[in-house]
Amino acid sequence: MEKKKKNLISQDKKYSKLLPCIFIIISLILILLPLQMPINSLRMLLSYIFIPQLRAAHSITIALLKIENSRLESLENENKRLSDALKLTSAGKWQGVWAKVAYREPSRQGSVIIDKGTNDGVELRSPALAIQEGTAGLAGNVIEVTANTAKVLLLNDEDFSAAARMENLSLEGLVNGNGAKGIDLKYIPLESKIQQGDKIYTSSSGALFPDGILIGEIVNTGYGAEKSFDTYLKPQVKPVIDGGSIKELFIMPALKQTIKEQEK
């Protein structure tokens, strides 16, 4: 019995001498295996589960990052728009001030309030331009003005109208806002030869806008749709500026002729 016990103890000692080697080998295997990434993930998961402050901080961080992300996106878009705008002003073609859309009336989508007023040189009936997709076009005109704000009637509003001329033609007509449908071009004679894609510009004969501001292009000539009693064509025009997505407006000084009329 005693001998058996001694044998067992000596066997135990033999195995015990192997133990450090076994643990060292296991450690070396752990070092050599690419375990750092899964361990880091597990550690983060455990920290996330067991530390509520971390969880709360994490959700706050996510929310803040989302806000920051949307802010950066907005700044990026604004940067793009303003870069386009800079091209317009640096070309020296138009003179005026840039204004941001400060407010939109929920009940009336055809007008916007801008953050510039008489203090910045904005006048009543000042033409308003905008740039979309790199193209400058007519956006509307100022109908109310205060010291620091102004109301701009957009060209898709039903109350809006402007004298217009066809590209490369001596034809002149009148554009009218038509709400969601865009704008209509009126008073184009039946016998005139207009084509789809023809561009429409402002005409100086209206005394409200300077000549040559792009309004839009004809998407439907109206040939064949005229009725027997019609004396004019009713072409449909797609405006170059979408009133619903305007963020900045370029406000030009009102024509002197218009101001004189006002004074009278």
């Binding site: 195995y15 015990s16 133990l19 450090p20 643990f23 060292i24 296991i26 450690s27 070396l28 295997i29 752990l30 070092i31 050599l32 295996l33 375990l35 750092q36 361990i39 880091n40 550690r43």
Partner: protein, 170 residues
């Protein structure tokens, strides 16, 4: 089984104390070797298998919370325990003097070995800083008598204290 439960209880207590020491001393950039201290203490109450097992697990615990070289501390702790197990019968580890000196010395060695381990496996010496090397090791040595007293009084129960014949883990 009761022995194992007691060892597990000591391990959990050691991890909590280790966390507390990190909370207290991390601002000073000092790393106290609580897990090493507990491994040395447990060596006196466990057999060779339990001794290496506890040290290995303690090292693995530190590896889990380390950003580099998973398995490095496990290797170093096993090596340290190999050395300690060879000398422990020649010293009176229950005495305060040897406790302070041996623990501080082994903590120095632990930091150096871990650095070398990093040099071998990652290509850069994993240096914990001179402050941690000197102050951390000295403080570990100085805290050792208190940790030993606390562990033997409140953490290590009679199942471990009395059963010294076989010193088996289970």
């Amino acid at each position: 089984m009761m022995r194992f439960l007691n060892v597990f209880f000591v391990f959990i207590a050691a991890t909590i104390l280790n966390w507390l020491s990190i909370e207290l001393f991390s601002a000073l950039e000092i790393n106290i070797g609580i897990m090493l201290a507990f491994s040395l203490i447990m060596c006196g109450f466990l057999g060779e298998a339990g001794c290496y097992g506890f040290a290995f697990m303690s090292g693995l615990f530190l590896d889990f919370f380390s950003d580099v070289l998973f398995g490095g501390y496990a290797l170093v702790f096993t090596l340290i325990m190999f050395i300690f197990y060879r000398i422990k019968d020649k010293i009176d580890f229950k005495d305060i003097g040897p406790q302070v000196v041996i623990t501080a010395g082994l903590n120095f060695l632990c930091i150096v070995l871990y650095g070398i381990c990093g040099l071998l496996f990652t290509g850069q010496f994993l240096w914990q800083g001179l402050k941690s090397f000197i102050a951390g090791s000295l403080l570990t040595g100085l805290f050792m008598p208190f940790i030993y007293m606390f562990a033997t009084k409140y953490l290590i129960f009679n199942v471990l204290k009395n059963n010294n014949e076989s010193k088996k883990l289970f």
